[in-house]
């Protein structure tokens, strides 16, 4: 498997790769993951192989980190030659990244997974034709959501099968609440980057301020990195900011609140936080984004409200806090919904995709054309 993003920088795609790799190993498969690692001292699991550090490149107003050069290529070729893999699984190969490099270097059964719903990159467009023909080597494409699939179809002209993101259901289901939570007066929860407007914390704080008036003991628990916003004095000791939480505390966070709120206003292609809340058995109020609607079975496994509308959130959250029976019903429906997203189920579907590209007697090799090109390049530059 190849990761485009540094192993030691927390993120959704890296977590997906780690969980998939570990579940496949539990199912008895051998897995090796090639990934950028920024910190040379970072401790790594045995199945992870370093591709080198990522290099910051100014791009599109921000900084993109790339691992795409001769050192990585040499390591990639060595890894492919030594591994004799049955299948190569690259993640997010549509951008200039280690994953694309892997596709260029390899020859044989290749599977890709696309996570984002907007992978169109200007860097890639520059080299559109030659790089896109490299992507033609990918034999099977997986998209984690209908939105991600639409991007592949529209921008790259390829088709993909849907295999959703996974969640370790039992890790969330069995976690202990944080001490003192949720408490008698009720508690709502939010997780995500605090200063990313599309995560929608502002909408929730607005709604919470309204609800707080009539509910003197209602509290709000907020997990996620970023600087907490200034709050009116009356709310200061009723909104608790946990900051960036560990995986273990994240599971405990979901178990610590009566209702989990996902007030995102856009930019979500999947909604992994909803799966985590469903797994934890926490009732959900979420904005009506396509991706959320999908995960919540069109509202059967959670309450949907119009994105960005604090008044609608007041109504939805308030009535759910007042109705323990309804919360129980949602938790039951949620437990049934989340089963098909458990990693043990999702990983089996990924294996089924592998089985359709593996031709007996072959393994992943190196692409001789790329090797020659590389050799001639380094010969002319030295």
């Amino acid at each position: 498997m190849v990761s485009p993003y540094p192993w030691d920088v927390p993120g959704g795609v890296v977590a997906h790769i780690r969980d998939l790799a570990e579940t496949l190993q539990d199912l008895g498969h051998e897995v090796s993951v090639m990934t950028p690692v920024d910190d040379d001292e970072a401790p790594l699991p045995a199945y992870v192989v370093r591709a080198g550090r990522s290099i910051p490149v100014p791009y599109n107003g921000s900084v993109a980190r790339l691992t795409f050069g001769p050192v990585s290529a040499t390591r990639m070729l060595r890894w492919l030659r030594a591994g004799q893999f049955d299948v190569l699984h690259v993640h997010q190969p549509e951008t200039l990244s280690l994953s694309l490099l892997a596709v260029m270097c390899a020859d044989g059964p290749i599977v890709s997974t696309s996570h984002a719903h907007n992978t169109r990159s200007r860097i890639l467009s520059l080299f559109q034709t030659p790089l896109q023909t490299q992507l033609e080597k990918v034999q099977a494409r997986i998209a984690v959501s209908p939105a991600a699939r639409r991007t592949i179809v529209e921008h790259l002209g390829h088709d993909a099968v849907l295999v959703p993101n996974g969640v370790h259901v039992h890790r969330f289901a069995l976690a202990q609440p944080l001490p003192g939570w949720p408490g008698e007066g009720g508690a709502a929860g939010f997780i995500g980057r605090i200063d990313e407007p599309r995560k929608g914390l502002a909408t929730l704080l607005d709604a919470f301020a309204q609800l707080a008036v009539a509910r003197p003991d209602l509290r709000l628990l907020v997990a996620g990195p970023g600087d907490p916003p200034a709050l009116p004095r009356s709310l200061r000791d009723r909104v608790v900011f946990l900051g960036l939480v560990s995986d273990e505390d994240k599971a405990r966070f979901y178990r610590s609140v009566d209702v989990f709120v996902a007030p995102n206003t856009g930019g979500e292609s999947f909604g992994i936080v909803l799966l985590e809340a469903l797994a934890a058995g926490t009732p959900i109020v979420a904005s009506d984004l396509d991706a959320f609607r999908q995960v919540l079975d069109d509202g059967r496994a959670g309450v949907l409200f119009p994105a960005g509308d604090p008044d609608a959130l007041v109504t939805a959250l308030g009535s759910l806090l007042d109705a323990p029976g309804e919360r129980e019903r949602l938790v039951d429906a949620g437990r049934r919904t989340v089963r098909r997203y458990d990693w043990s189920v999702v990983a089996r579907e990924v294996v089924r995709v592998y089985e359709t590209v593996i031709v007996s007697g072959t393994s992943v090799g190196v692409d001789e054309a790329t090797v020659e090109l590389w050799a001639s390049q380094s010969a002319s530059s030295s």
Binding site: V161, R340, R352
Partner: protein
């Protein structure tokens, strides 16, 4: 002189482009072949699973007999032509009929049923990958230059494989897998 150099340059570039496109087409055709072989393998698995299921007497005799017969026809048909499409479609239709006649049989947990559910999902995956490969190859082949210079050589014109591979029991299968895995949790 300048004109001659320019002409030579154009010819060299054109030849380079054509040979690059030819090797690209070659790779695309190889992918079609690989994906086609994978699809055939999945179809064979599905038909074998149908035949096994028809023979274990879990289904009512009339639908089971037809299922077994149609699986036999499918197994006897090679390639991915019209004939195969027709045979596989009849098999799919019979599967739907079986599901209607005896829905309880299709609850996962027994070996022939699990094999069939897995094989049917595999057919749906493999067919999508195969058609994607075919469309990719056709897209390049049908451009003007590759046609003019016959860059595809003698490779057969690939065609999509169209059958009904919908899985009415997909949700059943998924949640049942989960039931089994989640069982220790209560």
């Amino acid at each position: 002189m300048g004109l001659a150099v320019g002409f030579v340059l154009v010819v060299v570039l054109a030849v380079a482009y054509l040979s690059w496109t030819a090797s690209r087409l070659d790779r695309l055709h190889q992918r079609v072949d690989t994906a086609g072989a994978a699809l055939e393998a999945q179809l064979v698995q599905r038909a074998s699973a149908c035949r096994t299921l028809a023979s274990v007497r879990a289904l009512p005799a009339p639908v089971a007999d037809t299922l077994g017969r149609r699986a036999g026809v499918s197994l006897a048909t090679a390639g991915l032509g019209c004939e195969r499409e027709a045979a596989e479609n009849l098999l799919s239709r019979q599967l739907h009929a079986c599901l209607q006649a005896a829905p309880t049989v299709f609850v996962p947990g027994s070996e022939p049923v699990d094999d069939l559910l897995g094989a049917a999902a595999g057919v749906a995956f493999a067919r999508r990958f195969y058609n994607d490969a075919v469309l990719g190859a056709l897209d390049v082949r049908q451009r003007r230059l590759p046609r003019l210079f016959r860059l595809a050589g003698h490779a057969e014109m690939p065609a999509c494989f169209e059958i009904d591979d919908t899985l009415p029991w997909e949700s059943v299968s998924r949640s049942a897998h989960a039931d089994r895995d989640a069982a220790p949790l209560g």
